[in-house]
């Protein structure tokens, strides 16, 4: 696999020249493989949202270079707008960006800015709506009449309709109920498999990240504190703690079991992993677990 986007010793200074000057990113080196799903985690103020804005050229790094498909994105600053169609960014609480009178028109805003022909725009709107699970009769409603979760999916569809090769989402599921969260992540997964796109997700939800990402990047104080699979990252309690993060809930469960003398083999990060590890533990103790409704033996 080859890489789609790479950051080379990128630094970003926030509020330069004011008394509130702050180094938001400090010599960050990162690269993202084509077709991968990467999660960026870190506490508030660790530089996640800044990093995201550097990826599609909304902000320009103070030092260092961002390469998209091998080319410096700031080589021709006048053409930075074109990059934004290839690197789709869904900002935090994207439902606040909706403005058209119908959902259809709102999703079409991006493709229209790309100056695509009408029939292509219409085709893309329908496709994006389908990807995020919006029915066709929703398309003619006013976006302001929808529920929070559906508004969110309309906004995400608005970015997907540009069909970017790299989809970047900043807290895509924040503030949604469990069903809404699942629908958002299903939509992202569907987009990725249908288009073979690369995905970068920023989130505070360790559970979601453990389930949906192939690789995690921890940011702490503007630096990359660690990268690896969910198992590698969450298997390092020191790293998690020093970055101000938490384990996924099943990880917390594993810790509690260990305190009671029941050590699971390996690190568990998702529910299925926990189920198999716990069953294994039962078996090793000579107890046959009976799923659902069975006694603990």
């Amino acid at each position: 696999m080859s890489e789609i986007i790479r950051l080379e010793s990128v630094s970003y200074i926030y509020g330069k020249g004011t008394p509130y000057e702050k180094l938001a990113l400090d010599a960050v080196d990162l690269s993202f493989e084509k077709g991968s799903v990467t999660g960026i985690i870190g506490r508030t103020g660790s530089g996640k949202s800044t990093l995201v804005k550097l990826l599609n050229g909304l902000e320009r790094p103070a030092f260092g270079t961002v390469f998209f498909e091998g080319e410096n994105i700031w080589k021709r600053p006048r053409e930075i707008g074109k990059l934004r169609f290839k690197v789709g960014l869904v900002m935090q609480y994207p439902e606040y960006q909706l403005f058209e009178e119908t959902v259809r028109k709102d999703i079409a805003f991006g493709p229209k800015n790309m100056k695509l022909p009408e029939d292509e725009i219409e085709r893309r709107v329908l496709e994006a709506a389908k990807t995020v699970g919006l029915s066709e009769d929703t398309l003619d409603k006013a976006p302001f009449d929808l529920s929070g979760g559906r508004k969110r999916r309309v906004a995400i569809a608005g970015v997907m309709a540009m069909q970017p090769d790299l989809l970047v989402l900043d807290e895509p599921a924040a503030g949604l109920d469990p069903e809404g969260r699942k629908k958002v992540f299903d939509a992202i997964d569907r987009y990725r498999t249908e288009r073979g796109a690369t995905v970068i997700i920023v989130s505070h939800s360790m559970d979601d990240m453990a389930v949906w990402c192939d690789r995690l990047v921890i940011l702490s104080e503007g630096r990359v504190a660690g990268t690896g699979t969910a198992r590698e990252i969450f298997g390092d309690p020191g790293l998690i703690r020093s970055s101000g993060l938490d384990l996924p809930q099943v990880g917390v469960l594993a810790d509690l079991l260990e305190d009671r003398g029941l050590k699971l083999s390996g690190t568990v990060t998702t529910v299925p992993e926990a189920v198999s590890a716990i069953s294994e533990l039962f078996l090793s103790r000579g107890v046959t677990p009976t799923p659902k409704g069975g006694g603990a033996g």
Binding site: G81, M91, P94, Y96, F99, F109, N113, M162
Partner: protein
């Protein structure tokens, strides 16, 4: 971000200018304005400029920062300078005569004085109010100073509360606007090209979400205020009790001396004709 917002100019510090009571600073500003408009003689302008520079120095606001915020008035300065230069006539012979345009020695002086006056006035008020007091302090002080007006039925509290909320929400709405612009830019919004109509249309994509979010914020704020039993100004006490201290009276004396000095210097230069 928010580079265009000049209102949030507050430059934190702990200098005598910062520590002076907000109410006193408004009084000082009035005195300073009086001094600026009293100044007529060369020596009084010298005093005024020296005083302004001293004020900048004491407040420890970087000169560069101040000059940057003075950039906006450069056009006003240029226009007043040119008008005064050409439209002042005197009995003496003109220095330069070019058709109906004549420049007299007095015109040059007058134009220069006017420019210095405006520059000192704006710089002084920037240092006294915008750079060294937070907007919250300014509104509180205004309310305290205007309080006597409520005796004659003017709802001072309501006005200052509205002003306070407006000031409070400028940075919030600027942030909202910034976020919305960023989001629409990510969807390919382009302000910098296309016809006027097209650019206006692209503004719509920012203004509508901004209106929606400000209404939402207003609604949330109203609920939050009701939840905390806000019922207007009647019987409301302030968390920050403002008290005049020795420093405030020292500052008052300094500024009064400035006004007296300016008038005195005028008298010395022009005799007693004022």
């Amino acid at each position: 971000m928010n580079r265009s917002i000049t209102l949030g100019q507050y430059y934190p510090g702990d200098t005598p200018v910062h520590r002076t009571d907000g109410r006193m600073k408004i009084i000082l500003l009035i005195l300073f304005m009086v001094a600026c408009f009293c100044a007529r003689s060369f020596s009084s302008f010298l005093l005024l400029t020296a005083f302004t520079l001293a004020l900048v120095f004491v407040s420890s606001v970087p000169l560069g920062l101040l000059l940057r915020s003075l950039r906006m008035i450069i056009y006003i300065l240029a226009i007043t300078f040119i008008l005064n230069l050409f439209f002042t006539s005197s009995d003496e012979a003109p220095l330069v005569s070019w058709g109906f345009l004549k420049i007299y020695a007095e015109g040059i002086w007058k134009a220069a004085f006017m420019a210095v006056r405006v520059l000192d006035l704006v710089a002084g008020s920037c240092i006294l109010i915008s750079f060294t007091s937070s907007p919250v302090e300014v509104t509180h002080s205004l309310e305290a100073l205007l309080k006597p007006l409520s005796k004659i039925g003017i709802p001072v509290h309501v006005f200052t509360m509205m002003m306070f909320i407006a000031l409070r929400f400028i940075p919030t709405l600027a942030e909202d606007a910034d976020r919305i612009i960023t989001a629409q830019k990510s969807r390919g919004l382009d302000f910098s090209s296309g016809s006027v109509i097209k650019r206006l249309r692209s503004l719509v994509s920012v203004l509508i979400p901004l209106f929606v979010s400000s209404f939402r914020r207003a609604d949330e704020l109203a609920v939050a205020m009701e939840c905390r039993c806000y019922h207007g100004g009647e019987g409301r006490t302030s968390l920050r009790v403002m008290k005049y201290r020795a420093l405030d009276f020292v500052m008052l004396a300094v500024f009064a001396a400035l006004v007296a000095g300016t008038i005195l210097l005028n008298l010395i230069e022009f005799g007693y004709k004022l």
